[in-house]
């Protein structure tokens, strides 16, 4: 009761002086956005230290962790909302949106927006990144701060390396030629073919759900599955890998396929197949829904006019679902730009199969060259900027916010 009274008094003063009220409102809003995640984090963190110190069984720890993590977050929203609702209605209206939206914004800034800027900053420095000096030193001790910074500063030379380094060139070639140039169209075509076939089959549901199934499998699992297909045994022993068994059965020589450098760079195709297998189901589901959206009358009318099935497909279906084709293609391009797990588990990026993301991982976390690694990450970001702009345009056209 007392608290409400004081806050109401503040509110009154705020009304008298609108200028200062605005400032206080803003401080409280930003405060809320930061405070809620901060307290949530602190509570979770303490719980963790407690759990880690104890020697409870793994099951107990897992259960407590789940309840703790999920319940803690919910409690926090609940408590902060209660607190804000105790204020005068005007202040509740001012601050409540920030209880709702604030934590999400804070998380987005911490995990995506700010890291993008920080990664760009790191990319301007050498191996060890910028020196770990507190930023405040720029003002308290500029004589020491700026020389220390500039000693590590390399400007854009990491970016030059991104486009000239031998392994990076190989990675860029693989990403562009094999992953965007071959894997993406293959996935789209496979998805489209299956969608069209399934649309006319009685077994549509079963067929679609089986082809969709690899979507549930991890890339690591898929790598094991396909490693088993590519497995090679000495030529005097029976081949346990399906592909080599077929090749030997046809009179060929068994090979390790993904590490078959004699056909490099085409050994990348054996990695591409895995991703087509994994992603065709996604394309199929979207195309299937789009095909079902084509009005039956249009297709019937075309058939009446004597159009062949092929003509119906190319002249009617394709133009009708072009929007979906573009969406699916873009999504798969973005996905293949970041392809990592399959390559890393199958070949570790050896035998000429490196891609941008494996290079990023190797430079950042194995070679510990954070400047170079960060420049690669920024290059990845730049590659998706056109899609980002397209998404923002779409948003403006939708006019979600009137």
């Amino acid at each position: 009761m007392r608290k409400e009274l004081t806050l109401a008094t503040i509110d009154q003063t705020v009304k008298d002086k609108p200028g200062s009220g605005k400032v206080i409102a803003w401080i409280l809003r930003i405060g809320l956005a930061i405070l809620i995640p901060l307290i949530a984090f602190f509570i979770l963190y303490q719980g963790f230290l407690f759990l880690r110190a104890g020697n409870a069984s793994k099951w107990v720890i897992a259960l407590v962790a789940i309840v703790w993590g999920v319940g803690g977050v919910w409690m926090l929203y609940y408590l902060f909302n209660k607190l804000v609702e105790m204020l005068s209605p005007e202040w509740t209206a001012r601050l409540q949106p920030f209880v709702f939206v604030g934590p999400a914004i804070a998380m987005l800034i911490w995990f995506l927006a700010l890291p993008a800027l920080r990664t760009f900053y790191i990319s301007l420095f050498g191996r060890n990144g910028p020196p770990a000096l507190p930023f405040i030193m720029a003002f308290t001790n500029p004589g020491e701060y700026f020389p220390a910074i500039s000693a590590q500063f390399v400007g854009l030379s990491n970016y030059v390396a991104v486009f000239t380094d031998r392994l990076m060139l190989e990675a860029l070639r693989n990403n562009i030629l094999f992953w965007i140039g071959i894997a993406t169209p293959l996935t789209v075509i496979a998805g489209l073919l299956i969608a069209v076939l399934a649309d006319r089959s009685k077994f549509e549901r079963t067929a679609k759900s089986l082809i969709f199934m690899p979507m549930a499998i991890s890339f690591v699992g898929a790598s094991v599955i396909w490693n088993f297909i590519y497995e090679v045994a000495p030529s005097d022993r029976p081949q346990i890998g399906l592909l080599n068994a077929i090749v030997v059965g046809l009179g060929g020589q068994p090979h390790g396929w993904t590490n078959y450098t004699a056909i490099a760079p085409w050994n990348n195709l054996f990695l591409v197949i895995i991703v087509v297998w994994l992603q065709a189901g996604y394309a199929m589901v979207l195309f299937s829904a789009a095909i079902k959206g084509i009005p039956e009358e249009i297709i019937e009318a075309a058939r009446m006019d004597g159009a062949t099935e092929i003509q119906v497909f190319f002249r009617i279906m394709i133009p009708y679902i072009l929007g979906t084709i573009i969406t699916v293609t873009t999504t798969i391009i973005i996905f293949t730009l970041k392809i990592f797990d399959v390559v890393w588990v199958m070949t570790g990026g050896q035998y000429g199969t490196d891609v941008i993301a494996t290079q990023f991982y190797r430079q950042s976390f194995i070679n510990r060259n954070s400047g170079f690694g960060s420049a690669i990450a920024i290059a990845l970001l730049l590659a998706v900027i056109p899609v980002m702009i397209y998404n923002l345009r779409q948003l403006r056209e939708q006019e979600t916010f009137r």
Partner: protein, 366 residues
């Protein structure tokens, strides 16, 4: 009329035939590891997995000890009406439906008389699963009948870790995103438009961009290698898509319902928990499946945030580590891979409807 219907039948056969072929092509890789995971460790290495299907193979009908017959292994030997040298017998001498083959070394080996018969190599059991699931030492039967004690791969521990990672890393971002989506859809506040644009812009940002800075922050907070760290990371990376999808759904709910509740004096919080959340279950479910599969199957984030500590290893990491260290141990890899797929496959087939709906709601994940 008759030709039209037979043409229709032919077309239907063609379509179903091609479709069936594609489905088979898609399934064979999974069937291969599934069948292999139950096979004896020695069988997997030496014979192909499709041998579990009936096939024709040589079966020994009789074993002859050449020393009992007094045969000279250095010259041509005559056994069962066939004359051949040791080297020829070593490779196998075929005659009609029978074959003679030398088993073992020259001084103590024996000659087997084999016949081609229909057989299945169906010696299936759960030994491989026992070895990968158990954590401590496991007794393993070897091909020669002796037993050996090996260290299990503790997939049961990894499964538990994966659940501990994936459940909160699914629910927490949904919770945060649902609150935010409601705020964006039904509340007025300064910066509303701007922050929503930020959400949409971040949809396609590759998470690689965030890994180095986040790892540094976590190192400072002693969060590397903890579940809390990976929950936070997955929450941050999953939020843009979650907020966007849930906003699309929540902002599309009928305005009248909310206004009626407001007139009755309900607060935003009450409306959110009592009205919006129950109404949004389909959207929440589709995103939940997305996020759950994504987190469960994730390898990169776990590799970087959880690190090498075996106590917190998730299934993808355990599986990848077997690939890296014992890439030829197919009895472990096949059963391990199948264990890692089991939970997502159950979720997937159980909730496929919601998953497809989520995909169709338009998703471009960063």
């Amino acid at each position: 009329m008759k030709s039209a219907s037979s043409q229709k039948l032919a077309r239907s056969l063609l379509i179903n035939g091609i479709l069936g072929l594609i489905v088979l092509l898609w399934l064979i890789p999974v069937i291969g590891i599934f069948a292999s995971s139950f096979r004896d460790r020695f069988d997997i290495r030496t014979t192909p997995w499709w041998n579990v299907l009936p096939h024709r193979d040589w079966v020994a009908t009789k074993t002859i000890n050449p020393r009992e017959l007094g045969l000279d292994t250095n010259g041509p030997m005559t056994v069962e009406g066939v004359t051949a040298t040791f080297e020829e017998m070593r490779a196998g001498v075929e005659q009609g439906d029978t074959r003679l083959i030398w088993i073992g070394t020259r001084p103590i080996g024996k000659i087997q008389v084999q016949e081609k018969q229909w057989v299945t190599s169906a010696n299936l059991n759960l030994e491989n699963y026992r070895q990968v699931l158990l954590g401590k030492s496991v007794q393993v039967k070897l091909a020669d009948g002796t037993t050996e004690t090996v260290r299990g791969d503790d997939f049961s521990g990894s499964l538990l870790n994966s659940l501990t990672v994936a459940i909160p890393a699914t629910i927490i971002p949904i919770l945060i995103a649902a609150f935010a989506a409601y705020g964006f859809a039904w509340m007025n506040f300064p910066g509303r438009r701007f922050w929503f644009i930020v959400v949409v812009a971040l949809l396609v940002v590759p998470l690689q961009i965030a890994l180095v800075p986040v790892l540094r922050d976590f190192a400072g907070m002693d969060l590397n290698g903890t579940f809390l760290g990976i929950w936070l990371a997955h929450t941050g990376f999953g939020l843009p898509l979650a907020t966007y999808l849930l906003f699309n759904y929540i902002s599309g709910l009928p305005r009248e319902t909310l206004e009626a509740a407001f007139i009755d004096g309900a607060s935003h919080f009450t409306i959110f928990t009592r009205l919006i959340l129950p109404l949004s279950v389909p959207a929440l479910a589709s995103f939940a499946i997305f996020q759950f599969l994504w987190v469960w199957n994730d390898y990169l984030v776990a590799l970087i945030i959880l690190g090498p500590d075996p106590n917190v290893r998730v299934v993808t990491m355990t599986l990848a580590s077997i690939v890296g260290t014992r890439g030829q141990d197919w009895h472990l890899l096949t059963s391990g891979a199948f264990i890692s797929m089991l939970v997502p496959l159950v979720v997937f087939f159980g909730l496929q409807r919601y998953f497809v709906r989520g995909l169709l709601a338009g998703s471009v994940k960063g």
